[in-house]
Symmetry: C2
Subunit: 488 residues, 2 copies
């Protein structure tokens, strides 16, 4: 008996012993065949070099169609379990050393010497139990509407397919930009579709703007506290990042004027509405003063309005956008849908002058060519069919429904929370302790916190932490805080 | 009669005169209502401020369900045609001056003083008739498989929806990275999933690598000719971009050694296989020499293998990847699916050491947070189910089927083409004329060419142009070339 013949025999025998394929199981026949052959190879019941039964043979033995076998063998080839030798059939593939470690679980990342931004952000992408992430910046999955996204995917799959094969428009999907014009008009910001550039979330919008305006050594102003990821992003450009103290109605204006005169910043990134992490909004008077200072010292204002749709509207609660005053002359306005629809869609946008939009679009083209149409088409569908408005109304209602209870629970376990105008996703709570220490302890118990130090460009330790109103309420988290804060 | 009553009357009348809704039309009832009300508003038959019939009224008059009317009114509100006033009903919305120019067609962009990269790239995104784009870098839509993408979208829409709501893994969708490990092993490149980072196409991969390695004033080597977009991308970093002359079997090694000693580059970007624009591939001997020079002068090799799957394999035609020799120590390997599956998916990847993968993944996080899972999940499905292999086999067969005829047609109209080892998507044809002039003329006749000057970092005029084998064959294009090249 030759080697090949022996292997062939082995393969045929072990397959013959395979469990009968079930037509009732939830799994397709193809999936069942693939899984059962994989298991036999992994268990060494089928050894490398073994010849598989021919497609005809397999189909007859297992009473399935040849198409089913062809599909199963193809998948096994694609997944590296079988190889096809021209004119000779299918063989179990040699597992080369190159395949080592494929699919193995990852080792957990060791905690760093000190908590830093990149490490914490990496950490935020790890899988925590959903209800133990008061430090998260997103709404929990069960608050969002996966069906809206799934419907969008299905609708796109039915559209003219050729649209998905080529590059999209570098400035972004035009119908979405037309829809964004409507959205901006409601905020009293006039922008034609030519003034709008889509981006892969606010993150890319900030990156593109920063790369356009800042050279190494230039100064960029941010709020203090503010969203931490941009500190790292601006630092890679060699920029000098300076924080402007944030008060309940906007930045400390005297400080802003003083620092602007001193540093001549290229631009100032500000959350006018529902500032991250304090959830406070800008007063009309301060919006006007900021604009005057920017004109005097000739810097650009980058207004990051990512939390826009979680605000009940300026008729209900004060909030002024600088872009509504300035109409996109000195203000570059940023928005997006990662917080309200789905972070994974990666849809954000920039609104600015037509001339600047063209320049920023060119810069986007040089760094990512185009954004994918898919996310933009889904967002367009949700906006234009009127689902978005209802969805964000529901979100606001739900946030309002849990906020008070959350504040009371947190106060009971020892946190101090000061909100004059309650709205938005975050509470900026004072624990009276160094929250870096608290965060490390929490992490060891599988709880994700967002310590105050992260939100400051100076990254000095802080007693504050950011609490996600929607992700809080797990008894374990409250018990942890009570235990930790109750001590001493 | 009050104003409001009069408007209400107007609205009711003009709607009553609306064409009867059709249950047989291909268009849904909601779409028919939306379209007919939009048309009436655009034609001023419904004037701003007019009160719309109530949902009940409308449903009764038109014998449709109230749900249908609710959905139609919602869309009209979302699209800015109607507004909903609490407790009072729906009204035709005032068209504010902010809405000017929404949805208007764009003016064509004026040709620039001289042809430059950004202008040409912008131009490539314009709509040309598909068969008149010999300068395109992509396969035509009808060569690709839209159904594969549509199937992927449908499959994802059926998956656990929560996966799409949160951020993906910043390093990329793990099953795709596992599948890429298999793909790389076939090229004799060993890389675990931890060594792979997904990107928004090769463009983002190059941007991330360049930002990591290059500071203003640093030198980057590219082939001459080479893919033009990266010249612009590297220029924005303040890097000095130098071209290494490309010969049929790889770069001019003497020149590479000389320039490396002189400039001490940070890295060298090379298409080893099916080089863009010449479609030539690297010999084993040159691959080894490049690696030796890189070691001697301590620079990184960035191997851009985007055309990988259009090559018939090194058993059929010589082609060596430097990463197969070096195993990702000094080589950073880039790949992607924009050429073979769909540019719009924006899926590319970087393979490197585990340590460098982590650093580049952090950098990706700072500039775009994560890439969208959607494209990565679609590519994973197509690879793992074995469709990809068959698809690229078909593409290669089709390219081989048209190439000879194309070469003969082009030679007949006066171009000189030199291919020793025919493969790939491009011909690097010599017209004997300044192809900048030719390109401008072609453009005025609606034909997109890719002049040789674009592919050189020096951007000097050239008599060469890049011809897409798959996009050529239109008689108008051939007649244009014959007319232009026959003259003089």
């Amino acid at each position: 008996m030759t080697n090949t013949a022996r292997y062939a025999k082995t393969a045929a025998l072990s397959l013959a012993a395979a469990p009968v394929l079930s037509r009732e199981a939830g799994e397709s026949l193809v999936d069942q065949i693939v899984r059962s052959i994989q298991a036999r190879i992994d268990d060494k019941l089928l050894r490398s070099g073994a010849r598989m039964p021919s497609i005809r043979q397999f189909a007859e033995t297992h009473r399935v169609s040849r198409f089913t076998v062809v599909e199963a063998y193809d998948r096994l080839v694609a997944q590296g379990f079988l190889e096809s030798r021209r004119g000779s059939g299918f063989y179990v593939r040699e597992r080369s050393p190159m395949m080592a470690a494929a699919g193995h679980a990852h080792a957990e990342e060791a905690p760093p010497q000190r908590i830093d931004v990149v490490w914490l952000v990496r950490n935020m992408f790890r899988q925590y139990p959903a209800h133990r992430t008061p430090g998260s910046g997103l709404l929990p999955n069960d608050w969002l509407d996966g069906e809206l996204i799934a419907n969008g995917l299905r609708a796109i799959s039915r559209q003219n397919q050729s649209q998905l094969l080529q590059y999209g428009n570098p400035q972004g999907f035009l119908p979405l930009r037309q829809q964004l014009q409507l959205k901006l008009a409601e905020l009293e910001i006039a922008a034609t579709p030519d003034q709008i550039v889509t981006t892969s979330g606010i993150t890319q919008a900030l990156d593109i703007v920063a790369r356009h305006f800042a050279r190494p050594g230039d100064t960029i102003f941010v709020d203090d506290p503010a969203w931490f990821l941009m500190f790292g992003s601006f630092a890679t450009l060699g920029a000098n990042v300076i924080g402007i103290p944030r008060l309940p109605d906007g930045p400390d204006i005297a400080k802003l004027a003083e620092l602007a005169a001193l540093h001549k910043p290229k631009f100032y990134v500000i959350n006018s509405v529902l500032h991250n992490p304090t959830s406070t909004s800008l007063s009309a008077a301060k919006a006007f003063q900021i604009l005057k200072i920017a004109e005097q010292h000739d810097f650009t204002i980058v207004e990051d309005d990512i939390y826009c749709d979680l605000h009940p509207g300026s008729s209900v609660q004060p909030a002024t956008r600088i872009a509504s005053l300035d109409q996109l002359n000195r203000v570059i306005y940023l928005g997006g849908f990662s917080k309200t629809l789905a972070a994974n869609l990666r849809v954000g946008f920039i609104a600015t002058t037509e001339e600047m939009a063209k320049r920023l679009s060119d810069r986007k083209m040089l760094s990512t060519l185009t954004t994918s149409d898919i996310g933009e088409r889904i967002v367009y569908k949700i906006l234009s069919e009127g689902h978005y408005r209802k969805h964000v109304d529901r979100l606001r209602g739900k946030l309002d429904g849990v906020r008070d209870k959350m504040v009371k629970q947190l106060e009971r376990v020892g946190l101090t929370i000061d909100i004059s105008t309650p709205a938005g996703l975050f509470l900026w709570a004072d624990t009276g302790r160094d929250t870096n220490v608290l965060t490390e302890k929490a992490m060891s118990e599988g709880i994700l916190l967002a310590p105050g130090s992260l939100f400051s460009p100076s990254q000095l330790p802080s007693t504050r932490m950011r609490v996600n109103v929607a992700s809080m309420g797990d008894m374990e988290v409250l018990r942890f805080l009570e235990r930790e804060l109750g001590r001493g």
